[in-house]
Amino acid sequence: MVSKRIVLKFPHRLIEKPIICKLVKEYNLEFNILKAYVTPKEEGLLILELKGKDEDCKGGIDYLNKMGVKVQPLSQDIIFNEARCTHCGVCVTSCPTGALVMDPITRKVHFDDKKCIACELCIPACPVKAMEVHF
C-alpha cells in the first residue's frame, strides 16, 4: 500500500465529467478529499490523498493525465521559504497535522511536506510570510 498527496487541476471542459469515481471503480483506490473548489474561470482544483497498491496509484494517475487533468505532488505547491523564516515557531500551533514542528534542540522550525494537507492555516499565522501557496 502506498499513499500519495496530489494536486489535480481540471480544465473547464472536464468540470462536468465523472472522473474521480473511476479511480475507485477501475483502479481500486481509496481517496480522501483535502480540498476542492472551482475557480471563477470554471477550472477545478482538487487536492487528494490517494491510497492503494503502487501499480494502481500509477495507473490511476496515468488515467488522470490521459483525461487531460494536470497532476502534481502537493509538495510542489506548498513551499516553506526557509530564507524568509526567522524560526520564531509561532506557526506550529496553527498546523493541525504536525507538518510544522519546532526542533527542541536547534529551536528551528521544520516543515514535513508529506504531512501537509494544504489547509493553509499557517499562511495568516506566519509573521514573515515564509509559507507560500502556489496552486
Binding site: T86, C88, V90, T93, R107, P127, V128
Partner: protein, 401 residues
C-alpha cells in the same frame, strides 16, 4: 576580586578575555560555582530577536533644489506615511505605520501586508524607496512637491531609534472566549486553543541583568546586525514590577530605548512583519554584553528557563479591558516544552520570539568581542531600578468639555 570594565577591555585587546553566552554560562556556573566562574569569565553575551513595535528610523535626505520644508507638510515612503514635523528634510518612520488606503480591519481580519516595518527592512536591504513629500512653501523653502527615489547609501544620516525595546519578560497570551481572536501576540484560538509567548528566556538581555547593575545609558550593544547604544530607559519602563526571590520580574517590567547607525545594519536582523488582524511591526535583533564584574553578576547571568516565570493572560477580555490578574504562572522551560496547563487544560504553546536567532546573536556578539573589534563601554548613567519608585501608570482620562 571584583573586576572593572577597563580591566576587561584590556583583556579583550590582548585577546585574553573569556566570553560565554548566557546559555553557556549556565553550565560553567553549575560546574565551577559562582566564585570561580566570576574569576574566569569576563563577559556574558545575551540576545533576543522578536517583534518590537516601538521601533523606527530617522534620516536626513539632503536638501532638494529648490529647497522644500517637509516640516508642516506631508511625507510618504512607499505610500506609508512618515513623520516630518521636524525641520526641513529630517523624516521619522515608525514600524507600525500603514498606508492611508490600507483597508485595515474593515475586512476582518485585516491582512496588513505592508507597512512601516517592511519599508524599514527594504531600506536597510539597500532597495530604492519612493519618497513623496509636500510642503506649504515659504520664501526660503519655496518648493511644494517632491517625488524622488531615495536610497540608504545616499541619505546623510540614517539612524534606528527605538523608544521601547528588549522587554524584561512578557505575558503568555491565551483566549478564553468562544471565537478566534487576532492580536499582537498572534492568532489565539478560542477556549484556550493555544498559548503564545514572547521572550528569549534564559538568553534575554534584561532577564540576565534583572536589577540593571551593568546595563546603563551608553552601554554598547549589538542591534540590527550593527553596533548601537542604550539611549535611555524605554517607555513603559516598570522597574517596581513584581519580582521573584532571584530578583527577576515575573511580569513585564524594564525596557530600554535603543539607538544605532542604520547604515551598518542588516536586513537579516531587522524584519518587517505582519500580525494578521492586528497590523505591521518590526522584528529587531538585539544583543547586550554583560561584564562579569563580580560574583553577584555572574549568578544573575546563570539564570535558567525553569527559574524564569511569566503570567498567563486572557487577551479576549482581561487584556483589552485592563482587568488585572493572571490565569496562572508558568516558567519558560514549560513554555518551550510545547505545552502548558491552564485551568486544568493542556494547551499547545508557541513563541513569537526566535530562540535560534537569539542564540545566533549571543554567539555573534561573543565572536565580535573575542576578535577584539568590540570593546565594552562604561555606562554614563543608570537605568532606574526597583528602588527608584518608578511605576508604569495607566492613563487618567479627563473629559474635555
Amino acid at each position: 576580586m571584583p573586576k572593572t570594565i577597563r580591566e576587561i577591555n584590556e583583556k579583550i585587546k590582548k585577546g585574553e578575555a573569556v566570553i560565554a553566552t548566557a546559555e553557556e554560562i549556565i553550565d560553567i556556573v553549575e560546574e565551577k560555582g559562582t566564585k570561580k566562574a566570576a574569576q574566569q569569565v569576563d563577559v556574558v553575551t545575551t540576545g533576543t530577536f522578536g517583534p518590537m513595535c516601538s521601533s523606527g528610523i530617522y534620516f536626513n535626505i539632503g536638501h532638494s533644489k529648490p529647497r522644500i520644508k517637509i516640516g508642516g507638510g506631508t511625507c510618504y515612503l512607499n505610500d506609508v506615511p512618515a513623520y516630518g514635523g521636524f525641520a526641513a528634510v529630517d523624516v521619522y518612520l515608525g514600524a507600525t505605520a500603514l498606508p492611508d488606503d490600507d483597508p485595515k480591519n474593515k475586512i476582518y481580519p485585516g491582512a496588513f501586508k505592508y507597512g512601516g516595518g517592511h519599508v524599514i527592512e527594504e531600506f536597510v536591504a539597500g532597495k530604492d524607496i519612493k519618497l513623496v513629500a509636500t510642503g506649504y512653501g515659504t520664501d526660503c523653502y519655496p518648493r511644494k512637491k517632491l517625488e524622488t527615489w531615495i536610497n540608504i547609501k545616499d541619505v546623510n544620516e540614517a539612524v534606528l531609534f527605538n523608544p521601547r525595546n528588549v522587554y524584561q519578560n512578557y505575558n503568555v497570551a491565551v483566549n478564553l472566549s468562544d471565537k478566534t481572536i487576532y492580536t499582537y501576540m498572534g492568532i489565539l484560538k478560542e477556549k484556550l486553543g493555544n498559548a503564545n509567548f514572547c521572550s528569549a528566556g534564559q538568553l534575554s538581555p534584561l532577564l540576565n541583568d534583572p536589577l540593571y547593575k551593568t546595563v546603563g545609558i551608553g552601554t554598547k550593544i549589538f542591534v540590527g546586525g550593527g553596533v548601537g547604544y542604550v539611549a535611555w530607559q524605554g517607555t513603559q519602563h516598570n522597574p517596581t514590577a513584581k519580582r521573584k526571590d532571584n530578583n527577576v520580574p515575573c511580569v513585564p517590567a524594564g525596557t530600554l530605548a535603543i539607538i544605532g547607525d542604520l547604515k551598518q545594519m542588516k536586513q537579516e536582523w531587522l524584519r518587517g512583519i505582519t500580525m494578521t488582524g492586528y497590523g505591521v511591526t518590526l522584528a529587531v535583533g538585539i544583543g547586550i554584553p554583560i561584564p562579569i564584574l563580580n560574583e553577584e553578576i555572574v549568578q544573575y547571568t546563570a539564570v535558567k528557563d525553569k527559574d524564569l516565570f511569566a503570567q498567563v493572560v486572557d487577551y479576549s477580555e482581561a487584556y483589552p479591558k485592563v482587568i488585572p490578574g493572571s490565569l496562572g504562572e508558568v516558567n519558560y522551560a514549560q513554555l518551550k516544552s510545547g505545552k502548558i496547563i491552564v485551568q486544568g487544560k493542556e494547551i499547545p504553546t508557541a513563541s513569537l520570539s526566535s530562540y535560534s536567532k537569539a542564540r545566533e546573536i549571543a554567539l555573534t556578539l561573543k565572536n565580535w568581542i573575542k576578535s577584539g573589534k568590540f570593546l565594552l563601554s562604561e555606562p554614563v548613567g543608570s537605568i532606574p531600578g526597583p528602588k527608584s519608585g518608578i511605576t508604569f501608570q495607566s492613563l487618567k482620562e479627563r473629559p474635555i468639555t
